[in-house]
């Protein structure tokens, strides 16, 4: 570049000759030079800005394009990462307390048709009707030849059926993968498990949703991928549940009952180890509820949870325990038991209009199951305190057990609680509760007096330590129940080595037309074993039992529910790991045997 001098000699001389100031020339040149420099700098800055702008533009376009791509693209698993997370099934398994499977998933197929792609529609319809006998060939053909572009033929098919359909060779018959819920144990614990069906359905997959029982109550847990396929562990024990169901079924048939329920519960935690309701159903093929038929007679009805019955004399121990807890009586206090007792316009009778009176000790009131003796104790307790006690045992609210049906098992209590209701409620009439209520109340009362809530989850609920009665009252109540089995109304309940204690209850069934049936009863046996060290509570309820082995049909609990319960204890207790103790003396020892 030619650098022009600031003071070019020629121009200065010229200016001097003209008498001008040569400094003006220098300033002018300086200005021009500065202008030139400024232009140059601006150009450079502009160039840099442009480059920078282009770079930023490219960067933002890249980021934006990537974001758009990510948002629009189909999600897929990261294939490069080493997969440590297992590929989880759609729905978690349900297992029992030992981890044995109660419900799991199976991969299977669904069958659908796309009529526009079909070649020989008549043959396809004929062959399908041959493979699936319940499909109607005419109807299929009508569907295939009609306007429909798509139709489901079967929701689930077995691999053999799939092969048979495949062999038809029809391109319009297509298969979609399906995950199916499987209950490998069949009818076992059917009411607890409930069942599952398909929710929203597509060709490639379908939602499996629970429709009843724990499947519905824990639907969100079971479907939550965040659990990583961790199974739902129930408090049930498969082998004990099977034994209980089998014995109960045999007992129901033997006693000519139309239904039966049993609840076996851990006394100190409220965990339900076995719960059965008969008749039952197969959750793999859950029957549709029959319209018209009474809900109570449906096999879907869970008698142990939903069935609220007047549980009869089994309630007497609550009255006796409360009276003892309040210090009104002791086990040997004599109470008035002169029957019949008149209260207003009502007359309270004993069973078969007997009279155990005039005086009975509290223990004998329980052992002989005296209505009048219990009624007198209840009147002394008073209706407010009685209601509070029943409430603390959970007898006024639906059970909090984790079944979707639990809220429907709401106890029926008198709307206005008068003295006559106090009297009848004290021996379990005029107030209805489910067998599970009774089991939880017995567990709370007899485990040492700490309230427990029934639960189906292994490990139980957190213990609140809330007391219903004192340790001492609880022990006295257990001693009374033990005497009922030793020489009271439940002598058939004796199981050698297990020190069963329990209370029978026989209640006439209410007639829907009003009043009570004369020859239809609900019999209940609520028991605890071993009575001196309570581990388990068992409640057995039979609906309309009748023991026809004698000359007259016998319907009392002592002849019907008690032998069934005893057999359940005989079968279940060894499985529960309880060692029979023939002689409960601690100082008794067996000598060493040798050859």
């Amino acid at each position: 570049m030619i650098r022009t001098p600031l003071r070019p000699l020629a121009r200065i001389l010229e200016a001097r000759a003209r008498g001008e100031n040569p400094d003006a020339i220098e300033r002018e040149n300086l200005r021009l030079r500065h202008e030139q420099m400024r232009d140059q700098a601006r150009l450079r800055a502009e160039g840099r800005l442009l480059v920078l702008g282009a770079a930023f533009f490219c960067a933002f376009v890249t980021v934006g394009a990537r974001m758009g791509l990510l948002a629009a693209a189909e999600p897929h698993e990261p294939s490069a990462a080493a997969s440590t997370a297992p590929i989880v099934a759609q729905r978690a398994d349900i297992v029992d307390r030992e981890g044995r499977i109660l419900a799991t998933n199976m991969a299977t197929h669904s069958l659908y048709a796309q009529p526009p792609q079909m070649i020989d529609k008549a043959r396809a319809a004929r062959e399908l009707a041959r493979i699936f006998p319940d499909l109607d060939e005419e109807k299929l053909l009508k569907d295939f030849t009609g306007k429909r572009k798509f139709l489901w033929i079967r929701k689930k098919i077995s691999p053999e059926q799939k092969q048979l359909v495949h062999d038809i060779g029809e391109p319009g018959l297509l298969f979609g993968p399906r995950e199916m819920r499987l209950y490998p144990n069949g009818k076992l614990a059917a009411h607890i498990l409930g069942g599952a069906s398909f929710g929203r359905e597509g060709v490639h997959s379908a939602e499996v949703i629970g429709v009843a029982g724990v499947e519905k109550a824990f639907d969100n847990f079971l479907r939550d991928p965040a659990n990583g396929g961790q199974p739902l562990r129930l408090s049930l024990d498969l082998s004990i549940q099977a034994a209980v169901e089998r014995v109960l079924f045999g007992g129901m048939k033997l006693m000519n009952a139309k239904g039966a329920a049993a609840v076996l519960m851990k006394a100190d935690t409220g965990e339900v180890v076995a719960m059965a309701s008969l008749p039952d159903f197969d959750p793999n093929d859950r029957p549709a509820p029959r319209p018209g038929a009474a809900a109570e007679d449906s096999p879907l009805f869970n008698r142990a949870v939903q069935g609220v019955y007047e549980l009869g004399s089994t309630f007497k121990i609550f009255t006796a325990a409360q009276a003892m807890e309040l210090g009104l009586v002791g086990p040997d206090t004599l109470v008035d038991a002169n029957a019949p007792m008149r209260w207003g316009k009502h007359t309270i009778h004993e069973f078969r209009r007997k009279n155990y009176g005039p005086k009975l000790s509290v223990t004998d009131v329980i052992v002989k199951s005296s209505n009048v003796g219990t009624a007198h104790m209840a009147l002394e307790i008073g209706k407010e305190r009685q209601q509070d006690f029943f409430r603390s045992l959970g007898l006024f609210e639906p059970t909090p057990v984790e079944l979707v049906e639990a809220p429907t098992g709401k106890p029926i209590v008198p709307a206005r609680w008068g003295d006559i209701h106090t009297i009848t409620a004290s021996y379990g009439h005029g107030i209805s509760a489910s067998p599970l209520h009774l089991a939880a109340a017995y567990a709370s009362l007899l485990n040492g007096g700490e309230r427990v809530a029934p639960t189906l989850l292994a490990g139980g609920r957190p213990q609140t330590g809330e007391r219903v009665v004192s340790e001492d009252t609880s022990a006295k109540a257990r001693a009374m129940l033990r005497q009922v089995v030793q020489h009271g109304t439940a002598t058939f309940g004796e199981v050698e080595g297990y020190r069963v204690g329990g209370k029978t209850g026989t209640a006439d069934k209410p007639n829907p037309q009003g009043g009570y049936y004369k020859d239809k009863v609900i019999t209940t046996f609520a028991s605890v074993f071993p009575a001196d060290d309570p581990e388990y509570v068992l409640v057995v309820t039979l609906d309309e039992p009748e023991d026809r082995s004698g000359p007259d049909p016998r319907r009392t609990a002592g002849w019907t529910a008690v032998p069934v319960a005893a057999e359940i204890i005989r079968r279940a207790a060894p499985l529960l790991g309880l060692r029979p103790e023939i002689a409960p003396h601690p100082d008794f020892a067996v000598t060493l045997a040798s050859h």
Binding site: A82, N185, A593, S594
Partner: protein, 115 residues
């Protein structure tokens, strides 16, 4: 000197390109392999699920009960009864062998009074 440098750098570029392509191919290979493995793992899990379901199905209490009934002659299985609980102290152990008496002095002793 300069020519050597050019040739060298060209060779380096070719080497690097070969290396980069090689890495690229190997990455693709590895990705394909992981995909195959993951598919295999998925299938294995599926069959594991089926096997577990089958195991549970074969071990269902109803079937075991039937099998026990069918094979009663050979196995003689009955439900567990309370009487079947034993106590360790009731098990008869083989009596320890007594050492031979070598001299009569060894069996002579003082009788202790039992408390």
């Amino acid at each position: 000197m300069r020519t050597v440098l050019y040739v060298l750098s060209a060779l380096v570029v070719m080497g690097l390109a070969y290396w980069a392509y090689n890495q690229n191919y190997r990455t693709h290979e590895a990705l394909k392999e992981t995909q195959r493995l993951q598919r295999e793992i998925g299938q294995m899990r599926e069959s594991l699920g089926v096997l577990r379901a089958e195991w549970a199905y074969l071990n269902r209490p109803d079937r075991l009960r039937e099998l026990a009934d069918l094979n009663f002659d050979r196995l003689g299985l009955l439900p567990l009864h309370p009487e079947q609980f034993g106590e360790i102290s009731k098990v008869s152990y083989p009596a320890p062998e007594l050492p031979p008496i070598l001299s009569s002095v060894e069996v002579v002793g003082e009788r202790e009074d039992t408390p």
